[in-house]
């Protein structure tokens, strides 16, 4: 009985989290435009989706910015983490404070402060300023995912490589990098996800002409969201879910293979 209550509670909480998603997906298949009235099943919005240039543009902005900012912040952040790890205590503490600023700062302040900077430097806001902003808030997360891996690493690993004749460059690429790779990948994925989902910072650092999905949705929220947007996010959701299943399935297979050895 107690087990039942526990399970029931969990189901209720999950239902709370999933109800809006179910509603959204249902709406994307609704033949009518109304949010409330079910007018029959249809793929109409999925078809219209690809004809809507505003949405397709926003999607490409969102995806390219997420990809670019993830790659750049991963490079910047991984290098920084290696550098910070090698520092003495005091400069290290200083670097960690700087790293923590954008993480403790509310998104809205990050967005506004960057907006002020771009206006101050007379840089017109648009695609590139949004990219710069995304790299800025992504990089600290990369650092925080890589640093623990560096700390876990045997502190003499790098020295051992150089001792055995490796140049510093070879030691970094062939000894340190492989060992911190899981952290680098986590950081990269985290950066990608954060960038994909960001609204507030993008809102302040781009112009109304260059919109990503979030700012597009925001601009349409008042007048009413078209089901095409629901269709789009249902599609993205499905793709991500599929990816997750594939990755998990492969991980399980690898694990099984290893156990079989």
């Amino acid at each position: 009985m107690r087990k039942f209550i526990k399970r029931f509670y969990l189901v209720i909480i999950l239902l709370f989290l999933y109800i809006p998603i179910i509603v959204m997906i249902a709406q994307s298949f609704n033949a009518g435009k109304s949010r409330a009235v079910w007018e029959g099943f249809s793929f109409r919005w999925y078809a219209e989706l690809f004809a809507d240039s505003a949405i397709i543009n926003a999607l490409s902005v969102t995806l390219t910015i997420a990809l670019l900012s993830a790659v750049i912040s991963t490079i910047l952040g991984t290098l920084a983490a290696i550098g910070i790890h090698a520092m003495k205590k005091r400069p290290q503490a200083m670097m960690m404070t700087i790293t923590n600023i954008p993480m403790t700062m509310p998104d809205i302040v990050t967005g506004i402060s960057l907006m002020l900077l771009f206006m101050f430097a007379k840089v017109g806001r648009g695609y590139w300023t949004m990219l710069l902003a995304h790299i800025t808030f992504d990089t600290p997360y990369v650092i925080l995912s890589v640093l623990p891996k560096l700390r876990q690493m045997n502190s003499h690993s790098y020295e051992a490589a150089l001792d055995l004749g490796a140049t510093p460059r070879y030691g970094l690429t062939h000894v340190i990098l492989p060992q911190i790779m899981p952290g680098v990948i986590t950081g990269c994925l985290l950066a990608f996800t954060l960038s994909l989902d960001d609204f507030t910072v993008s809102y302040f650092t781009t112009s109304p002409l260059i919109q990503n999905l979030s700012t597009l949705i925001y601009s349409k929220a008042r007048i009413g969201i078209e089901p095409t947007l629901n269709a789009l996010s249902a599609l993205m959701f499905a793709v991500l879910l599929l990816l997750l299943v594939v990755v998990n399935y492969r991980a399980a297979k690898v694990e099984k293979a290893q156990q079989g050895q």
């Binding site: 045997n154 055995l164 490796a166």
Partner: protein, 357 residues
């Protein structure tokens, strides 16, 4: 055999870290094929010395010479020296074979030659057939052997070992001590070995360098260090000791524990205060009336080969090792032959701050 030519010279090496002195004006030479042990408590600077020879730390002042050539600023990858690190520092992303082959691949040796050398090394460390295994799956002792193999396969002039046996259990440690010593003699490589374990140092070394607070206290072969410690610190650190305050009455006569004793030391000033060191196994238990001193047995511990007794003569509690047990509470006589009384100059006065430690 050890050759007389100096392989490595450390000249006036000092090292400061954020204002604290880790090494103070150190001079040391190491000969070819010598097994040198740097021995001392933690924080004495022994590991820093090793890391300076390896090229991982740069001295604040002074020079490092290798075959009389200055290598102070040579990076580790251009030194003919290899290191076995504390906790081994094996590369977890590589298997045993690739760990050992790491240095050879960097030298761009032909594949076949690498394979031969790695396999020979695996045989040398008794791990034939382990090449394909991951290093994390190995036991501490096996990892240790891989670390040694990984360094030795590069045929270095000098092998640096930083407390390599520290993580092993007692029995394995003793086995590895012998194995390492054998390996060193067979391969004819110079070993520089860092440890805080005096027994390990005595077992393996040709030369022991005892260090404390960044300064060398004594250099010598194990027997000399044990039998003729230069000061109370060395005496106390190497083996067990009774250390007493004494006064040198004249040549070959010293007063301590309220009595005059004949000894073999001379060249002291008259009535110079000295430290007197007597090893516990050098005190003979005799009948009550035959002893130079008389004391009461306070406690008895069985230590396997001998008994350890604490004997109070009213002024000082002596630690005595003997195979014959005297029951607790009994009165015994203590006798010390002149040869076993070691007299040392008091250490030069040191600033109070350091003295507190």
């Amino acid at each position: 055999m050890i050759e007389e030519t100096h392989l490595i010279d450390l000249e006036n090496i000092s090292k400061e870290y954020d204002g604290t002195t880790v090494l103070a004006n150190m001079n040391l030479y190491i000969r070819k094929r010598e097994f040198v042990t740097l021995l001392g408590p933690s924080g004495c600077g022994k590991t820093t010395t090793l890391r300076i020879i390896g090229g991982f730390e740069y001295p604040s002042t002074g020079r490092v010479l290798f075959e009389s050539k200055d290598i102070t600023n040579t990076p580790p990858y251009r030194r003919r020296v290899n290191t076995v690190f504390q906790k081994y520092a094996l590369f977890p992303h590589l298997n045993v074979y690739d760990n050992i082959a790491f240095g050879l691949k960097l030298k761009k040796l032909p594949k076949k030659e690498i394979e031969e050398k790695v396999n020979a090394m695996l045989e040398l460390v008794n791990l034939k057939g382990y090449g394909k295994r991951g290093v994390d799956a190995l036991s501490g002792g096996q990892q240790q052997r891989i670390a040694i193999a990984r360094a030795l396969v590069n045929e270095p002039e000098v092998l640096l070992l930083d407390e390599p046996l520290g993580a092993l259990d007692l029995k394995l440690r003793k086995e590895m001590q012998l194995e390492l010593k054998n390996m060193q003699q067979r391969l004819g490589i110079t070993f520089i070995y860092v440890t805080h374990d005096q027994e390990e140092a005595l077992t393996m070394s040709d030369t022991i360098v005892v260090m404390k607070d960044g300064r060398i206290q004594q250099i010598g072969d194990p027997k000399k260090i044990y039998d003729e410690p230069k000061n109370a610190f060395v005496a106390n650190f190497i083996g067990e000791s009774n250390i007493l305050e004494g006064v040198m009455k004249k040549d070959e006569l010293v007063n301590f524990a309220g009595h005059d004793f004949v000894c073999v030391d001379y060249d002291f000033e008259k009535d110079e205060p000295v430290d007197v060191v007597i090893r516990p196994e050098d005190i003979l238990l005799v009948g009550e009336d035959a002893g130079q001193l008389i004391g009461t047995v306070k406690s008895v511990l069985f230590k396997g080969v001998h008994y350890e007794m604490m004997i109070d003569d009213g002024q000082f509690t002596w630690k005595v090792h003997s195979t014959a047990m005297q029951p607790q509470g009994s009165r015994v006589g203590l006798s010390i032959i002149p040869f076993n009384i070691h007299i040392m100059h008091k250490p030069a006065p040191i600033p109070e701050k350091e003295a507190e430690k």
